[in-house]
Amino acid sequence: MSNHAQPLPAKITTGVPTGRLGIWWFLAGETVIFGGLIVCYILLRLHHPEWAEHAAHTSWIVGGINTLVLLTSSLTMVQAFKAVTEGKTQRAVGLLGVTWLLGLAFLVIKVFEYTHEIHGGYTILANLFWSFYYLMTGLHALHIIGGLVAIAVVMARARKGKDLQRVEYVGLYWHLVDVVWIFLYPLLYIAS
């Protein structure tokens, strides 16, 4: 395994590498999906002050721990990209592995949280607040799962010194998943 492999040159037609440009378009679409949901939630929340009672049943401590986990995973992801640009492929692979584990930790914590809430009677059909809660956090969790698959693929390629530019692309996706959670956390856990 090379420890000084450089990112492969990406095809450039717009001044921005095509792969990076494609990811940004994809992220713009993701912004619409999550932004639309968040806007719907905020407008309905303003119309239903009683949702505050339901929101009080979410755990700000568990949500806060998961926020810390995701923020840390963003740090390791961007450090992996930095390692790639410095030609430190092995370090990049290691950091991608740490990011993957942190993403998995987020999911495990989320599963325990869901289990506790469902046992408490707060299911997706309990009321509109919980419907939004499970829809938004569930969709976010699906994005985490998708990110874990993507990171695993990129990590396997990077281990062979191939397609290193994809470390940046999967990183952009991962950071957006982090940004979405940065807004979901106060909406669903704190602003009760």
Binding site: Q6, P7, T14, G15, V16, R20, L21, W24, W25, L27, A28, G29, E30, T31, V32, G35, G36, V39, C40, L43, L44, L46, H47, W60, G64, T67, L68, L71, T72, S74, L75, M77, V78, Q79, F81, K82, T85, E86, G87, E168, G171, L172, H175, L176, D178, V179, I182, F183, Y185, P186, I190, A191, S192
Partner: protein, 99 residues
């Protein structure tokens, strides 16, 4: 923050650990803001902190501040669509959604 130019030549690297530290401090501040007695002030503080956190991740971790206008325009397209959704939904709420 110190910035060193990456080998690909278009992504200067910031002190990412320092940014992470700021993000964690903001996380704590955001949680504390949720306990402010005035709910309106608390909500404003909570979402202001969240916006600053998102701005730091997007501009520094995602390097948007180093991207050309084209990339910023792409993201603005997405945000514009969200704004259109907002404008489209407001009448439903204002004129009594569900009544």
């Amino acid at each position: 923050m110190n910035e060193t130019l990456g080998h690909d030549g278009d992504h200067p690297h910031s002190n990412y650990v320092a940014v992470w530290t700021v993000l964690v401090v903001l996380l704590v501040l955001g949680i504390a803001a949720g306990f402010v007695g005035n709910p309106v002030l608390g909500a404003v503080l909570v979402f202001s902190v969240a916006t600053v956190k998102a701005f730091l991740v997007v501009t520094i971790y995602m390097h948007l501040k180093f991207e050309p206008l084209l990339v910023r325009a792409i993201i603005l397209c997405g945000l514009a669509c969200v704004f259109i959704v907002l404008i489209g939904l407001i009448p439903d709420i204002v004129y009594g959604f569900g009544h």
